[in-house]
Amino acid sequence: MADGGTGPGSDGQGIGARVLRKEDKRFLDGAGRYVSDIYLPRTLEAAIVRSPVAHAENLKISPPAGAEGRFFTAEDMAADGVQPIHVVSKFPGHKGSDYPHLATGKLRFVGESVAVCLADTRAAAEDLVAGAEIDFNALPPVVDMLAAVEPSAARVHDDWDDNVILDSRFDANAENVSAPVSVTRTFRMNRQAVNPLEGAAVLAEWDAREDRLVVYSASQIPHILKNALCECLGLRQNQVRVVAPDVGGGFGYKCVLLPEEIYIPWVAMQVKRPVRWIQDRREHLVTAANAREHHYSVTLHAQPDGTFVGLEADIIVDSGAYSVYPHSNILESTMAGRTLHGPYTFSAYKVRSRAVATNKPPIVPYRGVARPGICFALELAIDAMARELGREPYDLRMQNLVPPEKMPYTTITGGEFDSGDYPEALRRSADLIDVAAVRARQLEGEADGRLIGVGFGCYIEMTALQTSAAARAGLAAIPGYEQAHVRLTPDGGLEIGVGVQNHGQGMETTLAQVACEKFGLDIDMVSVRHGDTATSPYSTGTYASRSMVMAGGAIARTCDVLGENIRRIGAHLLQCGFDETTISGARVVGPSGDVSFAEVARVWHRNPEDLPADVDPAGVEVTSGFRPSPDKSPFSYATHAAIVAVDPELGHVEILDYVISEDCGTIVNPMIVDGQILGGALQGVGTALFEESCFDAEGQPLSSTFADYTMPGSTHLPNIRLDHLVNPSPLTEFGVKGLGEGGAIPPPATIANAVNDALREYGAEVSETPITPRRVRACVVAKS
């Protein structure tokens, strides 16, 4: 611990405490304030005319009758000098594709925004949409990524010579990738939607008193949205304020810019009234069918004794029609290529990864980003290798996981794992799931005729992506230092401002716990505010499992600086030397007395005549920052294990038991940690078994309501047994690591491996998510 802090506060509210959430009350009372709950007088409601086809040119738009001054197109925006969304990485050969806010001449996916209609009610705005006419010449759509890479495919972007956005190679000792035993498999993870329960939402007005554009958006990245608004609308930074109020889930969908977040504010400026657009579920399922679509051809090479030698793969990521801001459309394909190796040791690597453009919505980095896909591909290949070698899958993994004595470990592609005991996590999950009991049960058979299987999934998760790695990887958005404002208030409490944005992770509580750890303050005396660019420090936002590492680290460092100033004042009041003081229980403690924070605050705020002459003029309101030094990322990891029952007659899969053994370093709040893992795991079950955004041959979305798109629910996962290891990170304050995404990463692999274990007598394997009854039946039928 850094100087000053002496442990948990008055009721054990520091690091490690199971503090109940400060933010709960308003949500339980129905008093949360999401964008759609904010009322501004004279607001006009927007409904969007959207493309009915996947690919077309010569777009012509006719406004509906009675919509004068209430109908806006790309032409109107261009006439006003609005710039499109522009983002390219530093990868050589990355083909740029500006993302128009409203379609310009061409239509590139069903649901693409074409025009904005305004009215007093959303219903009336939708009436106007129904009256608008779009004319165009349809073009052959590019729907499947495998067809898209063919040279003969139609072009999504006319000025490109093919549909490959970026073709990357990740080769290391590639000439030695082969080994005596190999398995080759093809895998597909199908497209799905993110579906936070609150969709996107934007409310914007030009605020006359503030003399700036004020945009309320359900965003994970308010400062980044502010940047985009300035770049696109030609505004100065001091002319824009973005507020992310309460946000109903994000999971990565809300950490990329939506065109609506630019054109709705622009429209508000034109009509000089607030304008509101609330995404409905059909809009989300159609326009946000944009996550996870990967294809893998993988060959795993090993020695006959099971030692992994080489990993070969050809990866394609269906990245949709445009590049998204700020991460661009190659984040996922490059992550997949670079980290397919997972937590295992390989001596050779030969991986090609292509991001491909198609006439579908632009890809967003949904919780886990590339990792659910690469985990699925590698973990299923490992099980296939185990079957090939006649080994228990658990055993083969144990043999090849990076062992703890090799930490910090440099991977075959140059990444560095900071700390962790991957084999121990596997060992514990195997114990919890009891493989031997499953094997015995399989021999007996089930009375109801179902087939039982057990499966494992191991993963590592880089958390809190750092500057050097991002720059080296050529990514478009580079994170830097994270700041926190910490202010000691006249009553001796703390007001803390952070740039990350809380949307379910409990940060109003967990980040306060950091301050409690430092000062021993009661958590009721600490408030953490976020989401408003007017009052929060700049931040790239909440994504990449970074908030506790970065914002928590920033608060810790800022409290250290503030603590010095407090001690200086306290020492003066106690008539002792600065070096004789410490902080404990929100008091400055000297050799013969102590003084409260409230007392120190009183002197600073109300009786400055009693301040020491050498007090820092920055006083009791401090901004400081944090980045791990060296700027490397902590890696969380876990092993998941599951037992499933497969009904061979119907193809239904039921999860009977599910265990997780995980390590996210030092745990700040065990209740919050468990909640993140459990929530992520059910999302992973959704990817594994249920969620798919289907498209027909014309690129028409077929899964546009919850009648066609099944969300995982309360009956789909039994209570998970959660086990925790703690191997602190050497890189961060308190040894914390990120963990928000991890729960969602291995369930598809774990469940698929369990299903394939159940189906082993059929000799057919599921290799595609979601593992629907049809796909399971296809395996059953293939044998017969």
């Binding site: 959303r122 219903a123 579920r281 059909r282 007659e649 119907l650 009648a707 009956t715």
Partner: protein
């Protein structure tokens, strides 16, 4: 997802409602519980010009036993049936069916008459009641008439109701103590619409229904004959043949799951 505009009229009597159906400009629909029509209207897949509100009309909520017939009003909700408002063996069967329809908050508003009149091919009541047998009671220009449940639904969202008719209730058989019933719904999440339905009621004679077919539910003749001959189970393989013989246009997967539903419904009937 806001509905298109429509007019709304509150009726006090059935005659009034029938007349309004007849005299409406454009498409008129009865507003039942709104649980099926509501989503379709929000999606603008249905855009009636007039909704006729019967909530003040009496005589549609009753459940009466008269000898070997149970008369159930069209406006009886799934929730009331789930809670056991229909007596006897018939009631127990219907209670089981009702409890699997959607979610409680939908069951509180959704009605048995609305469900059958709406005739969603994946809904429960059209299949479940077809297996029970009995009549639909209808109010029209010329007063009241009856139609047997057999053949009432003629296709997806299509029934034998005329444009100016209102489904007012059902007359269902009072099953005896020895009657056997089995209902099996294939879906992946409780409350979801069915992928396949098997419904078996063996009262005076066996009635076996294959439902959630994307068309009207149909009785599986060969299965009824097998049960009438004394069988107490039907294998999935046999069920496949029996269903396929009636040419339902299923691919192999759909045939399989409908056969499983039928086979397991028989299993439940004899459990």
């Amino acid at each position: 997802m806001k509905s298109a505009k429509f007019d709304h009229q509150r009726m006090v009597t059935l005659e009034e409602a029938v007349a309004a159906l007849g005299s409406a400009d454009g498409e008129a629909r009865i507003m039942g519980g709104g649980q099926s029509l509501g989503p379709m209207m929000n999606l603008r897949l249905a855009q009636p010009d007039l909704l006729i509100d019967l909530s003040r009309v009496g005589g549609l909520d009753g459940i009466e036993v008269a000898g070997d017939t149970i008369r159930i009003g069209a406006r009886v909700t799934h929730a009331r049936i789930e809670d056991g408002a229909v007596p006897g063996v018939t009631g127990a069967y219907m209670q089981f069916v009702a409890s699997g329809i959607s979610y409680r908050s939908v069951r509180n508003r959704g009605t048995i008459g609305g469900s059958v009149a709406h005739a969603d091919p994946s809904a429960d009541w059209p299949s479940a009641l077809l297996a029970l047998g009995g009549d639909v009671v209808i109010a029209g220009q010329d007063g009241e008439r009856r139609m047997p449940l057999d053949g009432f639904q003629i296709g997806p969202f299509a029934t034998g109701l005329g444009f100016e008719e209102i489904l007012t209730g059902f007359e269902l058989p009072t099953l005896g103590e020895g009657a056997k019933c089995g209902y099996y719904k294939v879906n992946r999440k409780p409350g979801e619409f069915a992928d396949a339905i098997g419904a078996v009621v063996i009262g005076s004679a066996p009635r076996v229904v294959c439902g959630a077919t994307e068309a009207a539910p149909f009785r599986v003749v060969a299965a009824e004959e097998r049960l009438a001959a004394g069988a107490a189970e039907i294998s999935v393989a046999d069920a496949r043949d029996m269903i396929a013989a009636q040419d339902p246009g299923f691919d192999d997967y759909d045939l399989q799951i409908h056969a499983v539903a039928l086979s397991r419904a028989v299993g439940r009937a004899f459990a």
